[in-house]
Symmetry: none
Subunit: 189 residues, 4 copies
Amino acid sequence: MARRKSEDKRNALLAAATEVVAEQGLGAPTARIARQAGVAEGTLFTYFGSKDELLNALYLELKGEMRDALMGAFPRGGSVRERAWHVWNAYVEWGVAHPPRRRALAQLAVSDRITPETRARTEAGFGDLSALIAERVAEGALRDQPFAFTAAILGALADMTMDFVIRYPDQAETYTRAGFEAFWRAVAA
Amino acid sequence: MARRKSEDKRNALLAAATEVVAEQGLGAPTARIARQAGVAEGTLFTYFGSKDELLNALYLELKGEMRDALMGAFPRGGSVRERAWHVWNAYVEWGVAHPPRRRALAQLAVSDRITPETRARTEAGFGDLSALIAERVAEGALRDQPFAFTAAILGALADMTMDFVIRYPDQAETYTRAGFEAFWRAVAA
Amino acid sequence: MARRKSEDKRNALLAAATEVVAEQGLGAPTARIARQAGVAEGTLFTYFGSKDELLNALYLELKGEMRDALMGAFPRGGSVRERAWHVWNAYVEWGVAHPPRRRALAQLAVSDRITPETRARTEAGFGDLSALIAERVAEGALRDQPFAFTAAILGALADMTMDFVIRYPDQAETYTRAGFEAFWRAVAA
Amino acid sequence: MARRKSEDKRNALLAAATEVVAEQGLGAPTARIARQAGVAEGTLFTYFGSKDELLNALYLELKGEMRDALMGAFPRGGSVRERAWHVWNAYVEWGVAHPPRRRALAQLAVSDRITPETRARTEAGFGDLSALIAERVAEGALRDQPFAFTAAILGALADMTMDFVIRYPDQAETYTRAGFEAFWRAVAA
DNA sequence: AATGAATGAGAATTCATTCAT
DNA sequence: AATGAATGAATTCTCATTCAT
């Protein structure tokens, strides 16, 4: 029987793609990704039918990983503020800890090579986050806006915060807190 | 004397580049840009020495245009809130009125094909905005953070707001106001 | 395992380059060379990283081949005149037998696309010829001039002789002899 | 009445072409030649219908100029050796004094962009030289070879000599003499 | 006649994808 | 399944030549 496809190689390709896309953008050659992954050029295509397929898989992978970081150890019993802080902090820490993943994800997020279907599959799994926001929204200043508006505010401010934390690492704590407080005020009652 | 280089053609090329880059990203072929501008492939290069040069010129153009939109009719005598509202509103209106320009500018802003020199030339002309922010910062909740932090909050929230306005155009007014209020609370005293 | 890079294809490309360069000069399109070699345009670049690399390889190839023709069967034990005649005759025969190689080599020799390093690698392997000339020089009319002067006389007269042989092939023998005698007198004691 | 074509501009173009071709070869852009001549790109084509036409005109020009240098002040009354020396010396001096003209002429001479007709027109005007050679030939070692053979020997050796003089300018005199003596022996009785 | 912008056919090179091994 | 050579369409840029001014 022939060799089975190896999960290791698949992962190596995704990791390589993360690095290379972060560095060179979506125009990065598949040959470079394969090399970085330590496999032959052609092998990439036995794991992913095309470059677009690889890119979509990578989007799913990174978004999923981010979600795990956000929602792992989510303090279900905490106060709204505690839960919000948990998410905020986990998100910022993830982004700061993995600049290439963050950069790659940002590129993918705005690319039209990611299919609507892929985008849809990505939205699942943020249940607790939604609930958290719903709660906040229900009682806060944004009670008349949809969910997504508050979520977007969180995302936008956290992303911007990461930029500052990455640029001034020794002020990480300060910016993370200041960003959160700004968010909290923005959505406050 | 021979034909003069025509400002019209230069503008047509920049406009075409805006469209095409918004649609296909920075990888967009120069041939497509030229075609869209209604000139021959080679002509692009008599106006811009290389694709990078075109891209840098486009960045200057778009950023400058945005600045004019923001700072035109700036109410120097108004209250801080009035001035902030003016900037917010002008920015959102600009982005909503010109999605391709906004998309193209966003792509250029994060590209490493834009030289530091080009970036530097871009920073001038935002004087009143800086002053506005300085004032707000001096007295607000973010008085211990640098300027740029407040400016980044404004940018992040306004960008996010535009996404909503574009997606739900009949709620434009609502989102624009809600976004501004969120911003105002975020940086409030 | 995948296909091996084929020595055949490499040789076909060098042979094609010889023909095409001889015909059209160094400006000859790589596409034409590839076609003549019977491979795709892109294939040329898997064998030679760039056109310049191909040209340098071709120079090495042709010069080496010429050297083999000159120095093969070199009559080490013969008299100075015998050895000189051998070199002369072999050189002229080579040039006459392979006009495209000769033409291509002539173009390459004066091109600034050939790197100094390539030129240097070319100089090895002419040992016996140098010795031959040294001997002739030591005792001849040119004993006060450097080596290279005598070598240049040989090259110049032989090249000119080839032109005549090529133009009047049925006088090949005559011109070859007459040229050699002129050379011999020129450097004689 | 419209302006007449100016002989000055034509000459400027030929001079510019000499420089530029010497430096960059026959692939040199016409735009560069025009710039060097101080005229507009298009102007080149009112003086020469095409690049090839310019090249052919340049060949005629340079070859003619060389002939004038060779044959001017030709000592009709001198001995054969005196006359030969005059030609030799004038040729070497011309080449050494004008490296760009020599380089350009060399490139043109081997190019297939020079038409047979142009080449033919070039052969006229070397009357005295022919006579000189004829005389030498009639009595010398090459009495059984055609004219052109002796002429070619002269050309080949003189060209080679120029290379040495240009490379070692302070030995100019030495090489010029040594080269001539080699030539004289080569064709001697 | 002079100018130089406009043109579009190449030119060298890159790259996603296929396929022989 | 894995490899990497082979492919040829696509890309940026150049350049001889034309033509409006």
